[in-house]
């Protein structure tokens, strides 16, 4: 692993990117690493585009990841992955949820946006790409709320996050309310069991 690991989490306000970035930061701090992050908080949280920058390592100055240096992009939504793609370093990893969040503007203008064009672009251009079937995970876990844990688990499994399965599990136990422990741990298992 590099001396600095940059992880960009992006999605739509309300999807849980902030908690996901906290989980990475916690896991890294537990290992004695320094962490610097930047979050989107405020008006954009109401269904707008949000991004959390998480940087792990020594002597990091900027809270925002410089473009072209992200080791991994964890995208909660296909178009948001594409929107942030300039942050990815050459050969970087992208984990993307395949379920599109259709904006109100798309419904009003009947743009037909369903995320497929975005996924096609990613498939053609990103070598290290993991597409997560959001609906399938929901089906297995029975909740929409585990999306962030699922994506993190996929990133951890790819090796690009610099965090192990066990470290992620202990971060979940520490930061997530106890009534959601079981479902989140189950989500991690499902990701690791998937071929």
């Amino acid at each position: 692993m590099n001396s600095v690991n940059n992880c960009l989490l992006c999605g739509v306000g309300g999807q849980g990117t902030v908690l996901a970035s906290r989980l990475i930061a916690f896991a890294a701090m537990e290992k004695g690493m320094d962490v610097r992050t930047a979050e989107t908080i405020g008006m954009a949280q109401r269904g707008g585009c949000v991004a959390s920058h998480v940087r792990v390592g020594k002597n990091i100055d900027s809270p925002l990841i410089p473009k072209g240096t992200a080791d991994v992009i964890i995208a909660f939504e296909p178009a948001e992955a594409v929107r942030c793609i300039s942050y990815l370093k050459k050969g970087g990893t992208v984990i993307v949820n395949d379920k599109a969040v259709k904006p109100v503007t798309a419904a009003l203008m009947d743009s037909g946006y369903n995320g497929e064009e975005m996924l096609d672009y990613l498939k053609c251009n990103i070598e290290n790409l993991t597409v997560i079937n959001g609906d399938e995970i929901y089906g297995k876990c029975g909740s929409f709320k585990v999306l962030n844990t699922v994506l993190l688990a996929a990133a951890a499994r790819s090796g690009a996050l610099g965090i192990s399965k066990e470290e992620l599990e202990s971060a979940v136990l520490k930061l997530v309310p106890s009534r959601f422990h079981e479902i989140n741990l189950k989500a991690i298992e499902i990701v690791y069991e998937n071929k």
Partner: protein
């Protein structure tokens, strides 16, 4: 001693720094990006600190001033536009001074990301003649807040502290000192010469301030967060320094950019890092400027450091070119970033670092922020829109989530200016256009903060308007803070719930009615009834924010019954209602079960569904 490291958001670091500095009283009004400071003090309060959300920033600053007169260390928190509201007490307090240390945090928002303006609190500091601290990271903010209290007491003056969004909402591993300084306030000691502002004393105090501030500037020249930093480059021509000044988060971007650009820059770099733009550390700046011929300045918002450097060069007859915002070298507005710094260095040094990665990226859908699915404001706006159909009407809006009522398809916000202005703007429009129905939309927290005086103005001056209070029982946009209508305080005490309806009745409005906006028929009827009367009328739409209530049930669309007319999409713009082919679907993960769409669908095709999304 090895200090403990905590992972803290900048705002949490500021709060903790203040707690460890022995703050006795904290008052503020919520505003992004400052809100979490006061919330963190309340959360980590060991019981010794008095914390309140005040009714607005002016009240907060005055409460703190009183406590400070009595010897307490006080912290006041707000966003930059809040400082405009608090500017009346601020300007006078600058003359009167304080006893207990007083730090006023006014968080600036370059971008702006969540604000009306890109105003710069450092200018406000110079205008009010108050020292200002400008941290470049959460770590620095933690240490600096303690310093701010020390300087405040050393010079008996309130001081300003202005973090920016990326410091407030950035997190870092911060070394924290767990000792809490004990500060026991002496109490208020009467002294009319000191605490009563009069023209004569103001003249004398003005002289004192003008005499004092250059001394603070001198003091700041050796302040630990102002420094000159040399970054020599191996093999570079000696003496050929590239001089760059930076302040706040721009310093972090500069350092990162230099690291990224590495050997692309072949010159030695000398940095002047400024944490106190006012009073300016002139001595330190002169040391930096002594063998410079050109200085580049990176800072966000206004060119404050830049102009100070130009002034010093003029004053000391130095032949130095200062490049920055004023000459167009650096962008005049918006946020800086590592990339923006790199691009300036690229063009200035004639190098070409970084590459264009745009390529053939497909067009992405626009995603402006919208009212949440299930938001009661959507129902309220829709009810007013229905009631005002075919009538000449202007809809004045205000600051809060409900500003988002301006977006399509609701399109129900014609004006938005500042906190409370909807009520009074409506009156002004009505004076010039008396045949127009004037609606003013105001949220509950905004009503308490600065709406009441506008309503009194309307009744006193016998205007004609319809006030629509959007009461969702919280301060939603900033993250659900309590306010006078909620009946709880930041000291976790139960307080009297102040009734908006009773206030309006006491003011003497011609018509006041409270309705649930989700009972669409009743809501439209109430607005129509109000519109049919004269004078100042009010409809209070009362329904809690979805973030503080639980979803009741879910709704879904019957594929057989949906005729694909899209009325629900065209009229409501709910993010949970999406197109699928020729028909409409409800996104189960977003639906909150408000049921507004069921009252709009002409075919009754939207029904409540079970947990799996199957129609019942």
């Amino acid at each position: 001693m090895e200090l403990k490291k905590e992972f803290l958001m900048g705002n949490e670091a500021i709060a903790l720094g203040a707690i460890h500095a022995g703050v006795n009283l904290v008052a503020g009004y919520p505003g992004t990006p400052s809100t979490e400071i006061l919330e963190t003090v309340a959360k980590r309060n060991n019981g010794d600190i008095y914390v309140e959300w005040s009714v607005n920033e002016k009240a907060a600053l005055e409460v703190a001033a009183g406590a400070s007169y009595a010897g307490a260390r006080t912290l006041v928190t707000m966003k930059q536009v809040g400082l405009n509201v608090a500017s009346d007490p601020l300007m006078s307090l600058a003359y009167v001074g304080i006893k207990g240390g007083m730090v006023i945090v006014s968080a600036d928002d370059p971008g702006p990301i969540s604000s009306q303006t890109e105003q710069d609190t450092r200018h406000f500091a110079a205008f009010a003649k108050l020292p200002v601290f400008d941290p470049s990271s959460p770590e620095e903010a933690y240490d600096m807040i303690g310093d701010a209290f020390e300087y405040s007491e050393k010079y008996n003056t309130p001081v300003l502290f202005r973090p920016t969004t990326r410091v407030c909402h950035g997190c870092a591993s911060v070394k924290v000192n767990e000792n809490i300084k004990k500060n026991v306030p002496e109490g208020f000691i009467k002294d009319t010469q000191r605490w009563v502002i009069f023209p004569r004393t103001s003249y004398l105090n003005h002289l004192k301030i003008e005499n004092r501030n250059p001394k603070i500037g001198e003091d700041f020249s050796s302040y630990r967060f102002n420094w000159i930093e040399d970054c020599p480059k191996e093999g570079a021509e000696s003496g050929n320094w590239l001089h760059i000044a930076a302040s706040g988060i721009s310093y972090a971007y500069l350092k990162e950019a230099l690291k990224c650009m590495g050997d692309n820059i072949s010159r030695n770099v000398r940095i002047l890092k400024i944490a106190t733009a006012y009073p300016f550390p002139e001595k330190l700046a002169l040391e930096f400027l002594k063998d410079a011929s050109e200085v580049l300045v990176f800072e966000e918002l206004d060119p404050v450091v830049e102009r100070e450097l130009v002034y010093i060069c003029g004053k000391h007859n130095l032949k130095v070119t200062v490049k920055g915002k004023s000459d167009g070298t650096v962008q005049a507005a918006g946020e800086n970033s590592v990339e923006s710094v790199q691009s300036v260095l690229n063009s200035l040094l004639n190098i070409n670092y970084g590459e264009d990665v745009s390529g053939d990226i497909p067009p992405m859908p626009a995603r402006p922020p919208v009212l949440c699915a299930g938001c009661p404001h959507r129902a309220s706006f829709y009810a007013v829109k229905q009631a005002a159909k075919g009538k000449k009407a202007v809809f004045s809006g205000d600051i809060g989530c409900y500003t988002l009522g301006n977006s399509q398809p609701l399109d129900m916000v014609d004006t938005c200016l500042c906190m409370g202005a909807d009520v009074t703007i409506a009156q002004g429009i009505h004076r010039i256009e008396p045949d127009t129905l004037n609606f003013a939309f105001i949220g509950d927290s905004t009503f308490f903060a600065s709406g009441i005086t506008g309503v009194i103005n309307a009744v006193y001056n016998k205007t004609d308007m319809i006030l629509i209070v959007l009461d969702n029982s919280t301060t939603a946009m900033t993250g659900h803070q309590p306010h006078p209508g909620t009946g709880v305080t930041m000291m976790k005490e139960i307080s009297q719930k102040i009734s908006i309806e009773n206030i309006l009745k006491a003011i003497g409005l011609a018509y006041v009615k409270t309705v649930d906006p989700f009972c669409l028929e009743e809501a439209v009827a109430a607005v129509k009834e109000a519109a049919g009367k004269d004078g100042v009328r009010a409809v209070i739409f009362k329904s809690p924010c979805i973030a503080i209530s639980k979803p009741l049930k879910k709704f879904n669309v019957s594929k057989e019954d949906c005729i694909g007319c899209k009325k629900c999409i065209r009229e409501l713009g709910c993010p949970a209602i999406v197109r699928n082919g020729g028909k409409v679907e409800i996104e189960d993960s977003l639906c909150f079960g408000c049921g507004l769409c069921t009252q709009v669908c002409p075919k009754g095709a939207i029904c409540s569904s079970d947990k799996e999304g199957n129609l019942k």
